[in-house]
Symmetry: C3
Subunit: 336 residues, 3 copies
């Protein structure tokens, strides 16, 4: 198993909900996320318990999810509360609902059933709401294990050759990595030979697949003003070998780059370069796990290896928790 | 196993044969159906026993199926009777032939080897040949278990929301279901609140996947003339998760609706609504069987559940018959 | 297993390398073949041992393969000899290199690890370099087991019906087959009823999937000059059910047929007829092996059956060799 179930996952951008519900699979489970008239978000298993129709094919009527197949209606807790036809609503019908939370323009969903969904543990991307920044958002879909995308993000030396737009080949690189609680951080520094231009990129991984990238650009031998930019890179496995990838870039409101220029650059970097590469890596790895293939590790893998170790420990802990819960359910008398 | 082998299956419309042989898979078996110069239909396993080329890639010459790969020729009983090249025909070469029968504009094929193919058991769709009716025909292909399409047809309350063209949401619905021999029937009645308009749809399921829909439309508080229309909905599994779906609509020759209007409406209803929904259901069910997923059953499932029970019993009986036959073959001395 | 690993395989045409490296999978293994500045060919496993990126996504810099993901550089022996970034190259990183050889305009690759790659065993197609001939080359890709393509080539009576361009239906056919060392040969003769036109096609199979076709066309009751043409038909499995197919046609420099006419004819014959047929056969066979389906064999199968027997024996011998080598590796002390 490669998933942590008891975790908050980035499900989409808040502004995506303006066009209607978000219907996506996370961890192999189809989910529909929608906004109630009260403004509160709700999320249900996107599968009617009657005949297994996707709710997302249907409509939402007075805050009730109406299945368009035979008319059963459910509230946001997953209780069957109506039937659009003139027949009785089966009270026993129950749909799994998911804790869902919006923060920093991200919709978060909790995919576990064994641990409480504590919103205080959700990583922050406050710059999405900071008036000092102008933000550009995008959605990528990559046919690869989400962990390969994490690997990609944790070793930022990959930008030197894979992303020529950053023009980094002739800069002197250095890096370090460390841990802060459950997070893994890495800082990558690049200096032009004559020191006139300096970048420091610091990436913070928060499990399972959230990456916060802080970029400092120090021009003119450090005499000019430092430019600070941010980029959120938020991954959720759709299936074992496909991933949802939300990305944002936050630049100063005064940045000369237009939103369109930033978007076009990111489509090049994320879709045409990162995603292309990671799908190629997945093809070359087949269904093997990374460490089963004995990768030759080098110094710049330090952050990625830290991340992989933490992630593997969390996956193991989560699986144990799930197994214990399943065993206790099995053992419980039916009337209990 | 989800198939009944010893059964007649709808293979296509008779008029499809005007364009040449029908080459389709039924129950995972590729078959070629063609018309002999005598007017009689024939059906062979669409696979040459020499090098396994599809016969349907080749030609029919003087009522013999000629394999275009190396020239072997077979008669409609599957005997090798010639070689288009100047070499000997291997008398030992034998192709499975299938009983095939045309009736009511439907080509029927018998896929079993253990029971006699009794044409008197084929359900009738006599309106296809009744001069009182004008008929429109179509072919749908749905990527789902054929039983999910049967479920769809047996619960006609699905038309209320899934097929807005029928404008049925505000009508009062009632229904009943019953059995007649091996068939399952259900009648769905819909009345406008002020009774000015009334429809009664009666569907008859005949195993494995044949559905005959009789529609009565009673306008003007029952004062105007009753309109009677019919629709055949004939399903054959191609594979476990793909299905051939033949549909027809028979309207009075005096109906104001043109053939084109009927066809366009059915493409909307069958292809864009039913097929779309059932493929969505299949996606949500994955490879699980319906009852393994514990569906919440409601009153309007009555007909579908009757149908499923009968079908499951028939599948089981057919499998037992096939196993017994296979065992007796195994036990028989070779010279017997 | 259906592959012989310890064998030379045709990987591509030499002129394909003018456009850059050839990146293809052979026997499920991704390989990149490229030309060094010395003119020598090299081939590496197309997968970086660091993070499993495809080398073919990257570049070749001063004869070193540079991985575009994180910059590791490898020489043609597969040794890590550099890092495009300013970090150390891991000396332990090692990529499998493959013996590769160019001859007669074909790039050959040796896919085994247990036997020496003896280039003297590579079959010759000398007409590709013979000034008496004008050659036309093509690449086909067929979604089928390469052995089904071998079967197709070894029974040339298939041209009578499958390739109408050869207009051979009314000619009297005869054939014979024999063996020369490990090769299997077959000669197919076709005579017009009144003897005014005579063709003799002789095909030589050399394991695993190399076919050399020599065509003699004897016009005018043998009074006119004999026309001799050649065609190489070189197969390499990409995977168990997909194949690379290199074909050439060599005609006299004086032939009235233009290169374009020959190319168009071969696209019809190979892509639209042979490949179409063999993919149909593969569909009808599913994942079954030819002889498990009990094909009805006829006289003209003689050459194909000889070929299949030799091939099966070679596959078995190769598998035994590989197993013995693997066992001896397992048994060897680590320090040995």
């Amino acid at each position: 198993m490669t998933y942590i179930y008891n975790a908050w996952y980035p499900a989409g951008w808040v502004h995506e909900l303006e066009k209607g519900p978000i219907a996506r699979k996370f961890l192999d489970i189809p989910v529909m996320i929608y906004r109630l008239s009260t403004g509160v978000l709700a999320a249900l298993h996107d599968r009617c318990p009657h005949r297994f129709a996707p709710f997302s094919y249907g409509t939402i009527v007075e805050d009730k999810v109406r299945c368009i197949y035979h008319g059963l209606e459910f509230d946001s807790a997953g209780r069957c509360v109506g039937n659009a036809l003139c027949f009785a609503a089966p009270k026993v019908a129950k749909v799994r609902s998911f804790p869902v939370f919006e923060q920093d323009n991200v919709v978060w969903i909790w995919m576990g059933e064994e641990e409480p969904a504590d919103t205080s543990t959700i990583p922050r991307y406050a710059y999405h709401n900071d008036p000092k920044y102008r933000c550009v958002y995008g959605n990528n879909y990559t046919k690869a294990d989400y962990r390969l995308l994490c690997d990609n993000l944790m070793d930022l030396t990959h930008i030197v050759l894979l992303h020529p737009v950053f023009d980094a080949l002739h800069r002197k690189q250095s890096f370090k990595s460390w841990e802060e609680g459950d997070d893994v951080l890495a800082s990558y520094s690049a200096v032009e030979p004559h020191e006139e231009y300096h970048t420091i990129n610091t990436i913070r991984w928060a499990a399972p697949g959230n990456h916060d990238l802080e970029m400092h650009i120090i021009p003119d031998f450090g005499k000019g003003p430092v430019i600070q930019e941010w980029s959120a890179n938020l991954l959720t496995p759709e299936t074992k070998y496909t991933s949802h990838y939300l990305w944002s870039v936050a630049v100063s409101v005064d940045s000369p780059e237009t939103d369109e220029q930033i978007y076009d650059r990111m489509i090049q970097v994320v879709d045409r370069e990162d995603s292309w590469m990671i799908e190629g890596v997945q093809d070359r790895m087949g269904e093997a796990d990374l460490f089963d293939l004995d990768p030759v590790l080098i110094a710049t893998d330090a952050a990625g290896v830290r991340m992989r170790r933490k992630l593997a420990a969390m996956v193991e802990k989560d699986a144990a928790r799930r197994a214990a819960r399943a065993a206790s359910r099995e053992a419980a008398p039916v009337s209990a």
